[in-house]
Symmetry: C2
Subunit: 77 residues, 2 copies
């Protein structure tokens, strides 16, 4: 894995954090995944350790949970 | 302000997040501030909107709160 992955769920705080992350890391360095639209990737996100969104999965496998926006339970609902 | 500022308090989760942020953004693009050692900068951090550490203040003034480590009250104590 060479890119970071930014998981979000379309909430306002997610969109704001997404813009900040893209500005900081660079658009080519991060994949954006909207878990509300790509529900088939929720399992992958949970296995990677994502407990809330927005969250950034770094290339070395760490998960940085950003401003608390929505729990994984909310995304599934 | 052209650099980001990463505020932390030396807790294990802070150190881990610091390494991730430095790897992602680049060491030259972020100033690291240890609020436990630089207590004179707590006021500045709070005015910028930092509510917990570790947190990243972006160049455009947004605060990204990362994995919850320690409340500002704990840092002051």
């Amino acid at each position: 894995m060479s890119k970071s992955i930014f998981y979000h769920a379309g909430c306002p705080v997610c969109i704001s954090a997404e813009q900040d992350i893209v500005d900081l890391i660079g658009k080519s360095q991060v994949e954006i995944v909207h878990l509300g639209e790509a529900k088939n990737r929720i399992d992958e996100a949970e296995k990677a350790g994502v407990k809330s969104v927005p969250a950034l999965l770094t290339p070395n496998g760490n998960v940085l949970h950003l401003n608390f926006g929505a729990s994984m339970a909310d995304v599934k609902g």
